[in-house]
């Protein structure tokens, strides 16, 4: 049964399309693998990071993927905690996506470190005053929790499991979800706080930032679950359509709320066109990377999905819109990290001393091929992890036993 459900998952696409997908994956894995080796041998030398813009594409990738994970998890946890029966079929899918996306983010942030081999020190000798130490501890706890929840969820479905044991498993699952709720809220908002707590960086130093990160995580994570559910769910039945309608509406509301917060974040400090924040807003909107905001984010990530979601009830269109939201959210993450670093903290510093060899004392940044290469590799790793996990746990595409209670 397991094998047939997996083959039906992969079989939702035509054989030609499948071959193309795997060919692309192999290409991405090779390119990314070369990037990984380059990173291990020569550190961050081939990046365009500098001492003045020390964080770039990979940090944006890290907050993007950890946001996807937190969002997907919060969706799953909400289904368990609030017993949203109608959405129960997607709870495992959401959990599994949460378990896959976070390692992608952690891989990227690991490669960002100058001394990857010392990452364990954050566990051994943490400084809990540091937001970053909190993040690492929360992630670690969260990963263990997600693994435990997945395991419980599958065990409750095992054929040999009696109804009493299964009920006990589900109760435990609910307890874990309740624990996970504040944990996921904590780290999704906490990533925002990691930036927002820095008084030196005006662009980040706002109370709204952690909230914005949290809502962003919910929006992008929910959109990802919706897109994957639309694309990979094996049974295109009435229940699938119903869930797609609900998820489409949820994504629409979240996109609107997130956009409202974005308006507040950008417009409040720059309304009267005075102050350094105004300059940073101008950089985002009209700077060298204006297209990241206007085209990738606003057009493809907000306007098109809103139009599609508001007007259409077709599950496939809903899936496409959600997919657009989930993918283009990367632009939002980039626009949160980079603009916070582009202006010199002291006027004239950019011309004080230069680095003719590595160009590390500059306030200009554009991700190099190598940075994209590693990002591609991390993505290929995530896709591989996803396919391994859905083969190991094909039950992810079967509705949990609880769903039979719907309507009882």
């Amino acid at each position: 049964m397991a094998v047939s459900s997996v083959s039906s998952v992969v079989g939702t696409a035509s054989p030609a399309l499948r071959r193309l997908f795997w060919a692309l994956w192999i290409l991405a894995a090779i390119i990314g693998g070369i990037g990984f080796i380059e990173r291990l041998l020569h550190g961050d030398q081939a990046t365009d990071f500098s001492s003045y813009i020390p964080w770039g594409l990979w940090v944006a990738g890290y907050i993007y993927f950890s946001g996807l994970s937190a969002g997907a998890f919060l969706l799953a946890a909400a289904i368990y905690v609030f017993k949203i029966r109608v959405l129960e079929p997607i709870s495992r899918l959401a959990l599994l996506l949460a378990a896959v996306t976070l390692p992608i983010g952690l891989l990227l942030i690991g490669f960002d470190l100058g001394h990857l081999e010392r990452a364990i020190l954050v566990i051994i000798r943490p400084q809990f005053h540091s937001m970053m130490a909190w993040m690492v501890w929360l992630y670690t706890t969260y990963l263990i929790l997600v693994a435990a929840m997945l395991w419980l969820s599958y065990r409750s479905d095992q054929p040999g499991r009696g109804p009493e044991a299964a009920t006990r498993d589900r109760a435990r699952l609910r307890v874990l979800a309740i624990i996970g709720f504040p944990l996921a809220i904590g780290f999704a908002g906490g990533v925002g706080a990691l930036f927002a707590t820095l008084a030196a960086r005006e662009f980040w130093h706002s109370s709204l930032f952690p909230i914005f990160f949290l809502v962003g995580a919910l929006t992008s994570g929910t959109a990802l679950v919706t897109a994957v559910f639309a694309w990979q769910w094996p049974r295109r039945d009435a229940a699938w359509k119903d869930i797609m309608t609900i998820m489409g509406r949820t994504v629409l509301v979240l996109v609107l709320v997130d956009f409202m917060l974005e308006l507040a974040e950008f417009m409040t400090p720059s309304w009267y066109q005075i102050g350094s924040f105004y300059e940073l807003t101008r950089y985002v909107l009209f700077g060298p990377y204006w297209y990241v905001f206007w085209i990738v984010h606003l057009l493809l990530g907000v306007i098109v999905p809103i139009v599609l979601l508001a007007k259409n009830r077709s599950p496939i269109i809903t899936g496409v819109a959600a997919g657009l939201v989930a993918i283009t959210f990367f632009a939002v993450r980039l626009n949160l990290v980079i603009p916070g670093l582009v202006t010199p903290e002291l006027r004239g510093l950019e011309r004080a001393y230069s680095d003719p060899i590595g160009n590390r004392l500059t306030f200009a940044y554009f991700p190099t091929w190598f940075e994209w290469q590693v990002l591609l590799g991390a993505l290929a790793f995530g896709v591989a992890l996803w396919y391994v996990l859905i083969r190991l746990f094909p039950q992810v595409f079967s509705s949990p036993a609880q769903s039979s209670e719907v309507g009882q």
Binding site: S51, L113, E117, V122, H129, L198, A200, E345, G348, R360
Partner: protein, 296 residues
């Protein structure tokens, strides 16, 4: 215990043992190793007199401060922008002293032009680490790899730093740079001087740095040799202070515009300059309380 292992152990225990660690450092510095001088006989033969070179005075004050327990000193620096001629020799001296690779800089000199032609002015602002009394870079470190010593110098343990660069983003003066592992032998000059430039660059790359009184041989690789892959910053030349030497930037300043000494001693030159009416610190509104002051 040699000094390197002392620094390493001090660093490793630094966060975990907290106050106990301070006692160890204090104790070790109160009983310096045999190769360290507690006095400079040459200096004793130079009589203090009005109008003497400020370097002599600061040297004398340095010896006096170093003979106090570490927690009784508080290092500070004053930079007279009216005397600074913008020659960058403090920066060059610093680079040579600490064998800084390309991209790493502790004391860039900011060249500020004000006004518009023909009414223009020019001002130079050397920018070392401010060694803030309330340093924003310290609490952000996830592994306690950076801290403020009892004498006020903000330092980094290269053997612990994981290279996350959080401290770099937290510094409002951008006084921390990252060692990406580059060397001066790449992109060396072409033409007839090419081989010489390459040879010099290679030789320089092999030179160790003596920061924090240890020997640092940089190297890249799967496990980079620190300080490659670390955040780096001005240390107030604490390794030189141990030997009763003023920070390199102070000694190479041709205009005598950089002053260094113990702010806890009201008779020192820096203490007297730092309280002048024209003394300011950068971004005081942030509450970082820098120990580097500028005279306007």
């Amino acid at each position: 215990m040699d000094r390197r292992s002392f620094v390493k152990i001090g660093g490793l225990l630094g966060g975990a043992l907290g106050a106990a660690d301070l006692l160890i450092i204090g104790d070790a510095l109160a009983n310096p190793p045999a190769d360290q001088k507690t006095s400079l006989p040459v200096l004793e033969r130079v009589k203090a007199e009005p109008g003497e070179d400020v370097l002599i005075r600061m040297q004398r004050e340095l010896v006096r401060a170093m003979n106090k327990p570490i927690e009784k000193r508080r290092w500070g620096m004053v930079i007279d922008t009216r005397k600074c001629v913008g020659c960058h020799s403090c920066n060059v001296g610093c680079i040579m002293e600490n064998k800084l690779p390309p991209g790493v800089v502790y004391r860039p000199v900011i060249d500020l032009e004000t006004g518009s032609y023909p009414n223009v002015g020019r001002k130079f602002v050397p920018r070392p680490c401010m060694h803030c009394s309330n340093p924003p870079c310290v609490p952000v470190c996830p592994v306690k790899a950076t801290w403020q010593r009892p004498d006020g110098a903000v330092v980094i343990d290269y053997d612990v730093c994981i290279g996350c660069r959080y401290c770099i983003t937290a510094c409002p003066y951008q006084a921390r740079t990252f060692d990406f592992g580059e060397n001066w032998d790449s992109k060396a000059a072409a033409g007839k001087d090419g081989p010489l430039a390459l040879q010099t660059g290679r030789k320089y790359a092999r030179e160790p740095s003596f920061e924090y009184g240890a020997l640092w041989h940089r190297s890249e690789g799967v496990i980079p040799g620190s300080p490659v892959g670390n955040a780096r910053k001005c240390t107030f030349c604490v390794h030189r202070l141990e030997h009763r030497q003023l920070p390199m930037c102070v000694t190479t300043c041709i205009g005598r515009s950089t002053f260094f000494g113990d702010l806890n001693d009201p008779t020192t030159l820096v203490s007297q300059l730092a309280v002048q009416n024209n003394a300011i610190s950068l971004k005081p509104e942030l509450g970082t309380s820098p120990k580097v002051f500028y005279l306007l």
